[in-house]
Assembly symmetry: C2
Homo-oligomer: 383 residues x 2
């Protein structure tokens, strides 16, 4: 297809990331097709929505047949079906071979280690006995135990002490990895876009802000409050990851900044990411538009920050499941630079990602004040 | 409907203005229905697209039956059908009574005059003899003759001299108005949003920039290069127009700034307008989102400028009609702050509005330089 505006793009997964890709591509009139359940957020917006499982090879082939290029908005897809397509010469971005490495935290960590990219010390766990043996070999006092596959949003991760492991604790029964727990001063994220034409751009570094009591990420802030040398190093390490993977597409590289100002790669996501949502309003080119550009064969766009931003997730309230309305929406929408994004989910559930809010301001202190206000007033309630 | 996010919005007209309303409302998951031809730009995006004429009362009633509130993205609609609906208590924003005044340039000018809003001197023309009689009565040397109804994009407007009219020239045979030609130093536009809750906001004043040779508007620039006192007056006059009309919705008020620094109202549009397209990227709240907020019963959003902007229309090339591609798109999309919007039109025709480009920069001189570059490189060519 020589006319980039006629390229048909297929997305495996029809959740909020796919939906924001569609939202960000409408002004270029690109055709986007999706594969997911019938009631997924993309269903009403995509050109052709194929109803099926992300694991169903036949459904993936059907998506490929109505598209010119395929991507995915979630890691848990049928990688073998994608490899078969790629072997036939069908373009998949990022390559399923890159996805295979990222999908398996054991392979991912081994890859980082092998390429000399700084990451926390770890051991692979193949059987139940390994937990104790490897813990003693590593000589640390505190660990993060992680399943190699299918971890998501905190699932498949557990903090354990050397004492627990010595006394026979088995955090997981599936293939896992045992990672030395790193005390970090900050958690950072760098979004990276790498184009098939070889160009590679990063967005400004994002910093996760934690609630000191609940120890949960509450806000994501950009720019991060770090010095220039750390910013440069973080971006350099993130770009190295993607170049070493030889990956094309949009990636999130999550980083730890240790108390000793050392940067360690935590993990990589091969898709648009929570830590890039603010780019919709805060940067010249959003993470979603950037991926669309790569898929359509259009050049990368500028990633500079227009205004400082804070992003917060909107989660389903703890006290109900069902149809909902958003209490406080009036007050929030009156505020300058407050952008509410809803993900078109039919029902709210405790902790479900229902949407997010991006807050722009001329300085980060002001953005932070507004974010606290928005956090206070917005709440999903029964409708 | 107490939950604003469940309000179903109907738009009469499914062109680019409707499409941009849909684009700007997706992150709030609002349901938007449209009425227009089958292949119109909104057809693939609206929740329910009713195929029919904008003059067809039955089609309008059908749109009303699947929506909770109706607006229109073009003036040429069946006003009587809307009045009948409004008389039954169905909410139409802006009111068709406001539309009736605006639709008829004779009524519109008389309204402005009656309310003491500054506008160029004029006379109403009822029959062929009036042209000469009124011209002589007015005592000017140069006039703009305008049909009262159905003028659009320069159609139904003609410049004539006193000599031509004295010697019997009949510019139009339909009810018209004869306006004293005003030599203006600038043409300005003010977008105004007025909410049913009584709040009224304006966006910063926009200035039309003309090609000195072709005498056509080439760029629209915001902020306008005018002093603060003129800015304040322009916004004040524009707000007066909408308050005096008692109109709710989003309006464009086109203004002349005379050589004597006098501000005259040229004409009013009761809908989002070309001179507000830059608000999508350049302002905290766009003209399209603002109208959606009013229709859904959400509060008005802040209208301040984030960055200076220039907007240029993308017109179909003179040398062909048919399917097209956009030459130069790669180069333009590499530039920082260049946003290409395409209107999803199947074919290009000479002078057809195919899309627009908004250019952001940290200062207006830089935006202007970029705009000249974009104008030079972008061109629709046969595909």
């Amino acid at each position: 297809v020589s006319n980039p505006l006629k390229k048909r793009i297929g997305i495996i997964g029809g959740g909020q990331l796919g939906r924001m890709m569609i939202e960000e591509s409408l002004r270029l009139n690109l055709q986007i097709n999706t594969l997911d359940a019938a009631d997924s957020p993309c269903a009403s917006l995509s050109h052709t929505h194929i109803v099926g499982s992300l694991m169903d090879a036949e459904a993936i082939n059907q998506l490929a047949s109505v598209s010119d290029v395929i991507t995915y908005e979630i890691e848990h897809v049928n990688t073998e079906a994608l490899i078969a397509l790629e072997d036939q010469g069908y373009p998949i971005i990022p390559s399923p071979r890159v996805l295979q490495i990222i999908q398996d935290k054991g392979l991912q960590k081994s890859f980082l280690q092998q390429k000399g990219i700084p990451t926390a010390p770890f051991s692979l766990i193949y059987n139940a006995d390994d937990w104790k043996i490897k813990a003693e070999q590593m000589g640390a006092t505190k660990f993060a135990a992680k399943t190699r596959k299918d971890g998501y949003d905190g699932k498949g991760v557990m903090l354990v002490s050397i004492e627990q492991l010595k006394s026979g604790a088995i955090p997981f029964k599936t293939p896992s990895l045992l990672e030395q727990f790193v005390t970090c001063s900050k958690e950072l994220s760098v979004m990276v876009a790498r184009h098939t034409d070889g160009t590679i751009y990063a967005w400004p570094v994002v910093e996760m802000l934690f609630d000191p009591i609940a120890n949960l990420v509450t806000f994501l802030q950009c720019p991060a409050q770090i010095n220039e040398s750390i910013e440069t190093q973080a971006i350099d390490i993130a770009m190295q990851c993607i170049q070493q993977l030889d990956g094309y597409g949009v990636f999130a590289v999550e980083l730890f900044l240790t108390a000793q100002n050392e940067i360690l790669v935590n993990e990589i996501a091969p898709r648009p990411h929570n830590s890039g949502h603010h780019t919709i309003e805060a940067c010249y080119t959003s993470q979603f538009e950037q991926l669309i550009r790569i898929l359509a064969g259009l050049p990368l766009g500028n990633t500079a920050l227009i205004q400082p931003a804070i992003m917060m997730n909107l989660l389903g309230a703890d006290d109900f499941s069902g149809t909902y309305k958003l209490q406080g929406i009036d007050e929030a929408m009156r505020m300058q630079g407050v952008y509410i994004h809803l993900y078109s989910k039919a029902t709210s559930k405790p902790m479900r990602k229902m949407g997010h809010v991006t807050i722009l301001a001329t300085d980060i202190a002001q953005a932070h004040q507004k974010a606290l206000k928005v956090q206070e007033i917005l709440k999903f309630v029964k409708d």
